[in-house]
């Protein structure tokens, strides 16, 4: 009568030899994502505390944000999530060729997003907004910067998976490796969904 005898893991071909039947690394990843919610929650909370708290003469969001531009990179990240699930579906079918393609597409979309962020940061900097000028600058750059760092980690992770796949070391039985990376990647994407709305779209 265990509570957690219920479901087998989503995609693992064999049931794990654990009390819940769930893969240990996957449990770890989900607890990690719960923890990450608190990490980004604190950063977003900080941004919101300082939202609207601007001194006369300071640059405010309206002055610097370019919504069309950011929409495009937000879109790129969103689509990378699609590529990610397609990569997972591919490896679960045993289709290593498609796996490699979709992993590369995911990483590429991630890189496009990062490129957009680099451009945005430089352009804001040129207009005089940086982490040292105001609470807006500080909380904005640190929030989006840490998100960017997460995306970079994800890109590195995806590329390592690609290398493994290229060397023939990823196969259907190891689809969990891709699934776990995917969980991380989608999480980074949904954080951006929130940041995009809360930081960029909702006007002050």
């Amino acid at each position: 009568m265990t509570e957690f005898a219920a479901a087998a893991p989503a995609h693992a071909p064999v049931v794990e030899e654990t009390s819940t039947g769930l893969n240990t690394r996957k449990v770890l990843m989900w607890t990690f994502l719960g923890s990450e919610c608190m990490f980004f929650g604190s950063l977003i909370g900080t941004y919101l505390v300082y939202r609207g708290r601007y001194l006369p003469g300071q640059l405010i969001p309206k002055d610097v944000f370019e919504i069309p531009y950011t929409s495009v990179s937000a879109f790129a990240l969103l689509m990378s999530s699609l590529a990610m699930v397609l990569a997972l579906a591919a490896i679960q079918r045993g289709d290593i060729k498609r796996l490699k393609i979709w992993l590369l597409v995911t990483a590429a979309l991630g890189l496009i997003f990062l490129g957009g962020q680099v451009y945005e940061f430089t352009s804001f900097g040129a207009q005089g907004l940086n982490p040292n000028v105001s609470t807006f600058g500080t909380s904005f750059f640190v929030l989006t910067g840490f998100h960017g760092a997460h995306v970079s980690m994800g890109v590195i992770w995806l590329l390592s998976l690609f290398m493994l796949a290229a060397r023939g070391q990823l196969n259907q039985a190891r689809s969990l490796d891709v699934e776990i990376a995917g969980l991380y990647w989608h999480f980074v994407d949904i954080v951006w969904i929130i940041i995009f709305t809360v930081v960029y779209l909702i006007p002050v």
Binding site: F4, A6, A7, A8, P9, A10, H11, P13, V14, V15, T20, L22, K26, V27, W30, T31, L33, G34, S35, E36, C37, M38, F40, G41, S42, I44, G45, L48, V49, R51, G52, R53, L55, I67, P68, S71, A74, F75, L78, M79, S81, L82, M84, V85, L86, A89, G182, L183, H186, F187, D189, I190, I193, I194, F196, T197, V198, L201, I202, P203
Partner: protein, 117 residues
């Protein structure tokens, strides 16, 4: 034992590539609506029942929560996976959400505006 036999009867079938693409189209569409709403000046001052209301923030929040939920439920398979995973994630998400809401209340609504020094 074969993999087949181990699949729990209660488990629902997972979406296939086609569904993933459809989902992506929905997500793109919602993003489109968000940006469009941002451009639509009128939404920021709608007359409803004689009061002027800025509907943009609530609309944006609902839409992005919708996107968030779609990605989590389908791309991350939370809808099909073990309850335990939802438990972990939702507890973290809930706590973070609570803290954000309380911060907004504390710093923007529950006290007088800041005296600027």
């Amino acid at each position: 034992m074969s993999a087949q036999a181990m699949v729990h009867p209660g488990e629902k079938p997972h979406p296939q590539s086609r569904e993933y693409v459809i989902l992506a189209i929905i997500l793109s569409a919602v993003t489109g609506i968000e940006v469009a709403a941002w451009y639509w000046e009128a939404i920021r001052a709608l007359m409803i029942g004689g009061v002027v209301i800025d509907l943009l923030p609530p609309v944006l929040i609902v839409l992005s929560a919708f996107k968030f939920a779609l990605v989590v439920m389908f791309y991350m398979h939370l809808k099909f996976d073990h309850r335990l995973f939802s438990g972990f994630f939702l507890f973290g998400l809930g706590a973070a959400g609570f803290i954000i809401v309380v911060f907004i209340a504390l710093f923007h609504f529950l006290r007088a505006p800041f005296p600027v020094t």
